[in-house]
Point group: C2
Chain length 250, copies 2
Amino acid sequence: MTANPTACIVVIGNEILSGRTQDANINYIAKKLGASGIPVQEVRIIPDVPDVIVKTINEVRAKFTYIFTTGGIGPTHDDITAECIAQAFGVPLEHNAEALAILTEYYKAIGKELNEARMRMSHAPKGASVLTNPVGKFPGFKIENVHILPGVPQVMQNIFDNLLPSLSGGPPIVMHIVTCDVREGDLAEDLREIALRYPTIDIGSYPGVRNDQFVTQLICKGSDAEMVATAGREVAEMAARLGNLLDVAA
Amino acid sequence: MTANPTACIVVIGNEILSGRTQDANINYIAKKLGASGIPVQEVRIIPDVPDVIVKTINEVRAKFTYIFTTGGIGPTHDDITAECIAQAFGVPLEHNAEALAILTEYYKAIGKELNEARMRMSHAPKGASVLTNPVGKFPGFKIENVHILPGVPQVMQNIFDNLLPSLSGGPPIVMHIVTCDVREGDLAEDLREIALRYPTIDIGSYPGVRNDQFVTQLICKGSDAEMVATAGREVAEMAARLGNLLDVAA
């Protein structure tokens, strides 16, 4: 198995924890990182509580190759991500000169005052660099392996898509998805036997409902594309033998 | 501030981490727990890796009042939640007699064999009790403060809704949501001032887009309904003073 770099997403947001908002960022980031050979290995959703943010960041940044935070950067009093990450790194919070220049130019262009609240959006840990937002203006920040992104999905996506090519990925994770009508209880033994023969391939079974019909999806996943395809063919043959193979996606 | 019990959700699922599946359980559980006065304070999404599951469960069960796991209970080789939770509690994994009786009756009724794979679904940590599924048949389990739920949303919901009344909640968390067209940078100072005067109310600001218009949602949240309403009124007055108040929801 080829080793891939790893990632962890930290969602900072009371609004997700309360259930008021359905998170849309985890799925977006996870898919794109996976396709770049950087599997997401853990996600934390945590509240806007300084101690929790500091402790979480320090725990995960030591454990994973890349960290992505979403949420809590903005002009209001509840936007505390930048200061908490500065604290986690033991560095002061400062007005990042490049970010301040971007904000100054932007507010001048639209004829609005760059007041104290808006200037907060240039707050970054000392030593952080700007993550450019090529569409809007408000940037994210990066300090060592931690990428600080906003929570608003469109803005997060603009910044994330722009930074993605700068990350060093491993071979992309490829998947082979077999969908069939065999109940899990009827295929478990045969599937286990295949899984044992492909220890480097992650083989998972997911029951669900599609068009009012119970289906089972069997996913072979790994970074060795040929091996994934071979395991996938065995799984498809097994499904056809035990019931109806509905479709195969690679 | 009235103290509420707390909750943590642990999503066990490679399919969520890979981005192949959009999680639907966090939001469902978080909303219902919040309405019952049990705020979710952290969510972890972790892979199907035994060490990670054991370590995570032991960390969070010491920290929060109630733990809810979703995913990884079923008949296939990748369903390892029950055995990992047994390991976390330092107890053996066993066939739970009540669960086994439910499964035996169910498979007899539909005329299918209760094979070894299906019998795995009665695997539970020694000392766990059954969480009844009043609609389908496959149950969840509970050991001390840890509730073990399946990942398929419909099945999870049936079991969760059935167990919810058994939890001891605090006063429900109530929200007052003010939506306006004032940009965050134009209201941040006034909002901070209100937030300082209501230290027991959690006041958050969330920029977003609605009907192609930029809007800001200002949320006052807490378990003291009267105080939330008073703070909410002040926030609404502020929004109307600085721009257009679009709507207020309580």
